[in-house]
Symmetry: D2
């Protein structure tokens, strides 16, 4: 399945470790930037989502490390919403070298939609569902 | 399956994020500390392992977030080796509140054993296999 | 001037960088742990301080790097309050190798005391002033 | 004194802490990105500098926190070389809100030039000295 959104980011020195590669935990921060930029691209910045009284809670993260990234490497992160349930959803990610195109890492994260003040699960906002499905150009809603 | 090794760690302020909980990427650094302390407990510090010409490369990480940890919370991390293949192995982790015992997060990581200089896959050292199996008190080797 | 409080901490792999030493920014997180443990030692955990309606805001940080720390090194961090003004105070730190005693880094941080809700400057609580002076066994209050 | 180089960066969620502002240690990682981008702008990427057998060692860092940065804030980091000695040099930084222009933080870092393999102090490369002075349009060399 193809991705309709991607952006570039460059490895920072502070993200490397003594193996002289990007530390394994940093891929989760790259994925997080991916979610933020994906939502901004759709015209719904994450902060606006929070201002409406919603928040996301991370439920599962999964990373497969393919080829270690190194300092100053230019990367391309592809991001898509994989599915939407009543009160949860999944993002998929593919991180690749931006110039030579080989894959650095792949992964996914599953999130619950919660009421920002009570932190109780709540329905994923219907208008955002429609917006995401329109952008991804395929049905995303599955039963839950 | 029970764990034979665990240790306590306390949430640092720098590990929290603006949701006022521990940032999702920090659990991978907790797991990493878990591997280091597990090996130290078995009498084979990670550095000694590297001095012998071996290194670990992370292949997969997986985290399930159950209950968010907060600043200054005392946590107990349980660590075990789940299986050993010819040149890869899996660690499992359960992170819990150290005083009230509820689960904060669970996860696993899969690693490849590589030659430290060539970074090519190599056999997991036999003496360490035996040491881990003895400590875990069960057979861990599976075909690969 | 001597220190009356210190504690040990061990360098984590995630704190190293591609120069194979502890990343320069991590010393500030060590200093922060130092403040938290200092206050706990005095019987006034940072959280309790916040629960009383106060908070600290960092105003200045200064680090002098003497000898790079490396993965798994056991360090000893010495911490003291250097002075107290009406609504600000300074912590000093000396980080040393825990076994061989050579200095790794020195530094200080200056903090403002603020009302936790308004974030406006407020007087440093008098009872905590007295507690710190008693612990440090010297006058700390200077005009502001 | 004015700055001749600046660039924009956006606050990542992983850089915030439970005070809901950017963690104090992250400014040092911003400054580090500043050094890397400054050198790239001058046509001497940091990696090329290392390939020539040189490396930088951080000696002092100093940050003055003026106004806390928050998640998703667009910042502008100004960077300049302040002076060059025989085997050390200083960078100055001003971090400001990119749209409203108020100052977020200021600081400086002092670095030693070392031979990459021996880590012994060595002379700052003369051709890079000249390049930096030409870019900054003022004499930078001071006695040491």
């Amino acid at each position: 399945m193809e991705y309709k959104f991607s952006f570039e980011l460059r490895v920072r020195f502070s993200e490397t470790d003594a193996q002289q590669i990007v530390h394994n935990s940093k891929y989760l921060t790259y994925f997080e930037i991916g979610r933020v930029e994906y939502l901004r691209h759709l015209g719904v910045p994450y902060q606006q989502f929070r201002d409406k009284g919603y928040d996301f809670v991370l439920v599962v993260s999964h990373v497969e490390y393919k080829s270690p990234a190194v300092f100053d490497q230019l990367l391309r992160l592809q991001v898509r919403v994989e599915w939407l349930k009543r009160s949860s959803f999944q993002f998929n990610y593919t991180l690749a070298d931006a110039t030579k195109d080989f894959i650095v890492a792949e992964g996914y994260t599953i999130h619950a939609t919660v009421d920002r003040t009570t932190l109780k699960p709540c329905h994923f906002p219907e208008d955002l569902c429609a917006l995401v499905e329109k952008f991804e150009e395929r049905p995303l809603r599955i039963n839950s």
